[in-house]
Subunit: 121 residues, 2 copies
DNA sequence: AAAACGATTGAACAGTTGTTCATATAATCC
DNA sequence: GGATTATATGAACAACTGTTCAATCGTTTT
């Protein structure tokens, strides 16, 4: 009977001890998936600009955001929907206006860390 | 004569003071582009796994990485090339083996921050 | 009620992405 | 030298992405 792929490959490891050790520490598939999703939220310049703007001001409406970022309402609105789906922003409707704000407290730290990284380069 | 688009839109701002204030703080196009690129490096599960593994062990060769991550050598090698282009990993060739390691010190902090965020959810 | 306005949405489009498969390269072993 | 091994690579493919454009939906204004 054939051994499991992972076991079979273990025999062929170059540095078996390292492989076993890291395998033990590996997070779940779901964890890596969600981690990747989180980074993906900020992996587009338009979304990065939106998040940056919302770090400066608690609330901004769509047209002001598109003015600041200098692109169309439509493009901003589409990206805001993406960020909403990712639970990174929430919004507050007042008449015709939709005021968006950051929904995820932790994102500020993550974003600031990224910015620090970029500016130290 | 027509005014500049950015000026024209400023007149139409819902909260002009906020718009002017945030506009003043905005980073350059290049900065946001690079910021997005940095996050993009970690926005794929396979790359996130590679980075995680290389946070646990200083150096790992391609076949051990593909064993740990449980995918093909080819897929890993392609992603390592992507990470190499982004200057996030470097490698050390020893005979047939290529030992990869993290090239960017700051990435550890950023990645750890992301992981903390995910695990607190 | 009609017009104006802010925001949302869907379709379409080109561009990008990540994997697979087959092949290539380069070092080691027999 | 020929076989084997570790890694790299190019082409192909389907899947996804971000913007634009046109149309729509609510709300407010006149």
């Amino acid at each position: 009977m054939k051994k499991q792929a992972s076991d079979k490959n273990l025999q062929n490891s170059v540095e078996k001890a390292k492989v076993i050790s890291v395998k033990k520490k590996m997070k779940t598939e779901k964890c890596f998936h969600y981690l990747a999703e989180t980074f993906k939220a900020m992996s587009d310049p338009t979304r990065a600009k939106i998040i940056f703007a919302l770090c400066q001001e608690d609330e901004l409406c769509v047209s002001d955001l598109s003015n600041i970022i200098e692109t169309t309402n439509s493009a901003i609105s589409h990206q805001l929907k993406t960020l909403r789906n990712m639970k990174l922003v929430k919004y507050n409707k007042v008449g015709k206006l939709a005021f968006y704000s950051l929904d995820d407290q932790h994102i500020n730290n993550l974003f600031a860390e990224g910015l620090r990284h970029v500016e130290e380069k």
